[in-house]
Amino acid sequence: MALNRDFVGRTYASTTPYEVSRVKIREFAAAIGDHNPIYRDKEAAQAAGHPDVVAPPTFPIAFSLQSGGEALADPDLGLNFAMVVHGEQRFEYHRPIYAGDELVTSSTITDIRSAGRNELLTVRSDITTVAGEPVCVSYNTIVERGGAA
């Protein structure tokens, strides 16, 4: 089923800040098999010039889709999650993410289009601190296989 194009342009903001913890960064680093001490050890991170442990570059995916996720789950959009795979992903980093950051995300559906038999949906997520400092922008394109057939 084709996705509902009326969703293009809709913005979804996170309702509560996401608090980045050392424990979550460590768990994420372990899950990707990365043993870099800068992700685990505050002293090692500080020795490298960081204020606290650093999050790996792909860490924002763990929290940045929570606000947009609400949109994707809306029955009016018509997305069949069982057929979804990831199409493209990009992050622009204004600065690294550190343990202790309190981040808010504003996600906007920027595009919905067909490509062959598939439907492609792109979400832009602007991640800032609660004080409004820009941290990262994520561009996420998901593919609904067979959605346009």
Partner: protein, 142 residues
């Protein structure tokens, strides 16, 4: 927060030696928990096959993370990465055995930019398939 690789010592066309990263079912279970992506295609073979996939497939973001690891290990500092994007061009199929699948990542310096930044073009393969395309990281060097 400084990369250990020096901008002045890097040339366009320079290769970054390939690295192999193993992905087993256990890694996908751990990644599901850590990332919050519990889509069943990443851990349930019965479900994956029912929706037309050959078997359980790795999260695209797991593969992207291996590319990120490759770049940060090379640059010497995760904070040096200022931009990182990929297209997921093929699936990484992860069999239910002890060997799992292998993702091989390599890189080349594609362009030198201002402000000590370089563009690293990444190649990621699993078996015969190129699993990432248009994979680029912009890294600020020392």
């Amino acid at each position: 927060m400084t990369a250990t690789v020096k901008y002045d010592e890097v040339e366009v066309g320079q290769q970054i030696p390939a690295a192999d990263y193993t992905v087993r079912r256990l890694d996908l279970v751990m990644y599901a928990g850590a990332s919050g992506d519990f889509n069943q295609i990443h851990w349930n073979e019965r479900f994956a096959k029912a929706v037309g996939l050959p078997d359980v497939i790795a999260h695209g973001m797991f593969t992207m993370a291996q590319g990120g690891r490759f770049v940060t290990d090379w640059a010497g500092d995760p904070g040096a990465v200022v931009d990182y994007g990929v297209r997921f061009s093929s699936m990484v199929v992860v069999p239910d055995d002890d060997q799992g699948a292998v993702i091989t990542v390599s890189g080349v310096i594609e362009e030198k930019l201002d402000d000590k930044r370089v563009v690293v073009a990444l190649t990621a393969r699993s078996g015969d398939a190129r699993v990432l395309s248009k994979a680029r990281a912009v890294v600020r060097l020392a």
